[in-house]
């Protein structure tokens, strides 16, 4: 809370710091809303934004961008006169339009000449036009003479008609000019009047016309070229016109941007008779910075009240903004997380876990060191060469490099180098397993691969459950901790289910665990779940009136809950088999390409050029196709199988009003 005469200084200071994610005071304290009123800005933010965008449009005409937010200084903020600014821009727009109108006039000329050109292409030479007088000739070709002194005005008079006028040979009389005139037949009426006016005399020169078509075409080409060049010059005049005002436009833009953000900050202020109140969130480690700054500009005449995020988030979980603090090298994975949603305040940031899970999944599906090295190279080169400003593209290139590195490691583990076994596998021969000749080793058949992926899936789901419990404990959500699908009872059922399934498999699919044990493992948690609908009913306020149907509702909810838990966990676990599937597909594709290469090989059995071409093309196809599939499936498994266990994406991102972003 500050005094109203300090509001300008405080606004500027807040803008300079760019720390505060503003909220309306009524979000924090509803009772205050009746005692305060909003500040009405002198100029509406929308009006400023519109003019700012106008300037960006003019800058875009000369392929320039507005200044970066980093270059803006609050000290440069001056009052803005929207009407005056619009006037300046309107004048600029009018000047641009004038040039466009000239361009349009040139365009008409070009179209006229192209019209004549089109017509001329239909005939071998001009004599045909003159002599044929075919109903299909649309050009009128005449030869005649006029007085030399009238040539200029004659050409001017013809300007509105598409025409080619060329001087021909030597006239009989000195003061005469001999002309070849090509016009459109449809303009005969208008042309005849012009010819009469200038005293045109027909001169018959059929022989001279033969071979003149090339000259006429050349004349046309030159005229067209001149008109197009003039059009280009006019286009560059627009560029020059705007570029001459480039500095002014940039300054205008900067001031507008400052005013826009200034207005935006003040839009969150509320006032009483003599004070102004505002509220917002900032990282707790920046608190003293803000305190010092506000106290300085108000000379201590301010009241600052602080609340920890945890206090507010208990009642209003979605209201506290979230700032994710991850090291820069994790930014591709942070992008994957925020693409899904922003984590809720106080919950675990899944970014590091996603990094590990995603890369393992990718590696298992794309386990080839050679292919991985290609991705690593492409991703690294792309990151180094990319000069654009889009963080999304940069993150994607980095992600490709990471995936490549993971695939290299997996390739070494599986002994796969562009589909070949250059070195013995460190873990097991994936290629050999798929092809049916694994020999000895830890994994000897495809079921072994499937089992690995199932175990991996169980680990991921279990980790998701544990994270959910941690989140629930951190937020004091005890009911959810116990009864949620991903809660303790749900986890108990899952663990029991995994145990029962493993027991069943280990006993050759013939025997389940003892009934007593099953009752203990599965029966008890299922029974405990009957309490969920009852407790929900009792805890929910306002409560629906109890009726005879209420126990039926409880029963149905219980049944549905059990079905959801059992089927959901089963589906989630089996979903990880796609990791095996894609890995097997990767190997199978390489086997197929090697087979094709052998088919194309020479009679001596050695590879021919064609074989190598097949292998190169095959490798490229596998890298692209399998790379894309593996990337997408890894994302899907993370989003659907992993996040669904614990991720509450109901957070909102920390978005302070700051000079440093170019868009609000």
């Amino acid at each position: 809370m500050v005094l109203d005469h300090d509001v300008d200084a405080v606004t500027k200071e807040l803008l300079r710091l760019g720390l505060l994610h503003f909220v309306n005071i009524t979000e924090v304290d509803r009772e205050v809303s009746s005692q305060v009123e909003s500040i009405t800005p002198k100029i509406a933010e929308a009006g400023i934004t519109e003019i700012r965008r106008r300037i960006e449009g003019f800058l875009a005409m000369i392929q320039e961008k507005p200044p970066s937010g980093e270059d803006l200084k609050v000290e440069d903020l001056k009052a803005v006169d929207l009407e005056e600014t619009n006037k300046v821009l309107d004048n600029l727009a009018a000047s641009v339009q004038t040039i466009r109108d000239h361009q349009s006039a040139r365009q008409q000329e070009i179209l006229r000449l192209e019209d004549i050109w089109r017509q001329l292409q239909m005939f071998g030479n001009l004599s045909e036009l003159v002599e044929a007088r075919s109903q299909y000739s649309y050009l009128s070709v005449q030869t005649g003479s006029i007085r030399k002194g009238l040539l200029g005005s004659f050409e001017q008079a013809l300007e509105d008609l598409p025409n080619v006028t060329m001087q021909m040979g030597v006239p009989e009389e000195e003061n005469q000019t001999l002309l070849l005139l090509i016009t459109m037949k449809r303009d005969e009426g208008v042309l005849d009047r012009i010819l009469d006016k200038f005293g045109w005399t027909d001169v018959h020169l059929p022989r001279e016309l033969s071979g003149k078509k090339d000259q006429v075409q050349q004349e046309l080409e030159q005229k067209l070229k001149a008109a197009k060049e003039e059009q280009e010059q006019l286009q560059s005049q627009v560029n020059t016109l705007i570029r001459d005002r480039f500095e002014t436009l940039q300054q205008m833009w900067s001031n507008l941007r400052l005013n826009e953000l200034y207005t935006r900050v003040q839009s969150f202020f509320s006032k009483t008779a003599r004070t102004v109140i505002f509220s917002g969130w900032l990282p707790s480690d920046r608190r003293s910075e803000l305190t010092t700054a506000i106290r300085r500009v108000t000379e201590g005449h301010c009241y600052l009240e602080w609340h920890r995020g945890r206090e507010i988030s208990k009642e209003h979980p979605a209201s506290v903004p979230v700032q994710m603090h991850n090291p820069k090298f994790l930014s591709p994975f942070q992008m994957l997380v925020t693409n899904y949603s922003v984590p809720e305040y106080g919950s675990i940031d899944p970014t590091p876990l996603v990094a590990v899970a995603y890369l393992i999944m990718f590696a298992l599906m794309f386990g080839d060191a050679g292919h991985g090295a290609v991705l690593l190279l492409l991703g690294t080169l792309g990151s180094l060469l990319y000069r654009g400003g889009r963080a999304g593209v940069r993150n994607l290139l980095q992600l490709i490099a990471y995936c490549g590195a993971a695939a290299v490691i997996a390739g070494i583990l599986f002994g796969s180098y562009f589909g070949m076994q250059w070195f013995a596998p460190v873990w097991f021969d994936y290629h050999g397993v798929v092809a049916g000749h694994a020999g000895g080793g830890l994994v000897t058949d495809i079921y072994g691969i499937l089992v690995i992926t199932i175990y991996f899936g169980i680990a991921v789901i279990a980790l998701g459950l544990v994270l959910n419990w941690i989140n629930c404990i951190a937020k004091g959500r005890w009911f959810r901790l116990v009864f949620d699908k991903g809660g303790l009872i749900g986890g108990w059922i899952y663990a029991a289910g995994v145990y029962a399934a493993m027991y069943f498999v280990r006993n050759d699919y013939k025997q389940l665990p003892d009934l007593d044990l099953l009752i203990l493992l599965l029966g008890i948690p299922v029974l405990l779940l009957t309490l969920k609908p009852v407790l929900e009913y009792l805890l929910h306020k306002p409560r629906k009136p109890f009726s005879l149907l209420t126990p039926v509702d409880f029963f149905m909810e219980w049944i549905v809950e059990i079905l959801e838990i059992f089927s959901g966990y089963l589906a989630n676990t089996l979903s990880f088999m796609r990791v095996a599937g894609l890995g097997i597909a990767h190997v199978s594709l390489m086997i197929a390409f090697f087979s094709i290469a052998e088919m194309v090989s020479g009679s001596s059995g050695g590879y021919t050029v064609g074989s190598y071409l097949v292998l190169v093309a095959g490798n490229i196809l596998v890298i692209l196709l399998e790379g894309l599939s593996a990337g997408i499936q890894s994302l899907r498994l993370n989003y659907y199988e992993f996040f669904s266990k614990y991720f509450s994406g109901s957070g909102r991102a920390y978005a302070p009003v700051t000079l440093r972003k170019n868009t609000v």
Partner: protein, 356 residues
Amino acid sequence: MAGPLRTYAFINAKLRTRISKILPQQFIRQLIRARSLAESVQMLGETDFVSVQKVYERTGDIKTAELELLRKELSVYLELENLVEEDLREFVQALSERFEIENLKNAFRLWFDRRVRGRNIEDARRYLMRRRIHYQIDLEAIIDADTLEQAADGLAATPYTALVRQQAAAVMEAASLFPLELALDRYLYGRLAQAADRLEPRDREIARRLIGVEIDLQNVSWLIRFKNFYSLEAERALGYTLPGGLNLSGELMRQIYGAERTERQISALVGKRYPEIAPLLASEGRGKLSARLTMIERILEQIMTIEVRKIMTGYPFTIGIILAYFILKGSEIRKIMTVLNAKFYEWPEERILTLV
């Protein structure tokens, strides 16, 4: 015939992605709010219509930019002809014939202006689309012909020759191109109906519905013209309309054209099938027929929007996705054209908004 999944899986994914990139109404409003034509065109530089912006930047000519827009719309159809399976190609080709016929109509209009009305058509003829669509048509031959019969000779290798010859006398007698334009439109919708008949039953039903709504729109548009410009009697006006409409039967059109008040008829039209449009009925123009017809036009446009929405939210593997794409894309291009033209003539924002 391949199953619907195989026929439409790829094209469905492709077109839905493209539909998601169609410019939203908010962007169209921004185009309208731009304070000059140049600034409005500049905004297109950030969209799929960047070629239109480049053309305008180079030529300064709004009509050349419009021609570029038309070319873009045509290329949408021609591209799809190459992407669809054999069994759909005839239908898509029939759809793209509308451009050829529209081009032909424009050429005939120029002929009529030059030959019958004695006007200078120099400016207008430069903006014909000279690209070959399905048939090689000599547009210059048409425009510069002395008679319609002569113009028909220039259409020798096309199915339009006979049409033009048949209508030549009627055009000269009526001193209007309308008989010829109507004949060309009947030919177009006849082709579409034929091509639709060869589709699978589900696709056929969808195609007929959407084409039917389009025919209704065309008919209402003509009825407005007949009333406002020609003051035709009802029977004569109705004789000129196209058959095959979805919602406007001959009888309903007769009632609308002739009656003073039309709430009952329109409620019957809209009623159960499209309850979402009921609020529009409350503001139906009373009194002048042209106002009522304009309202009906709006209702039919809403019906088209509803039908398209049904397709987008329904079973995806049908011809509906192709038709929906054409309709939405065509609407997008027409809106842009309307806005750029209106900006050129410096119309106020409010007026432009009513058109889009």
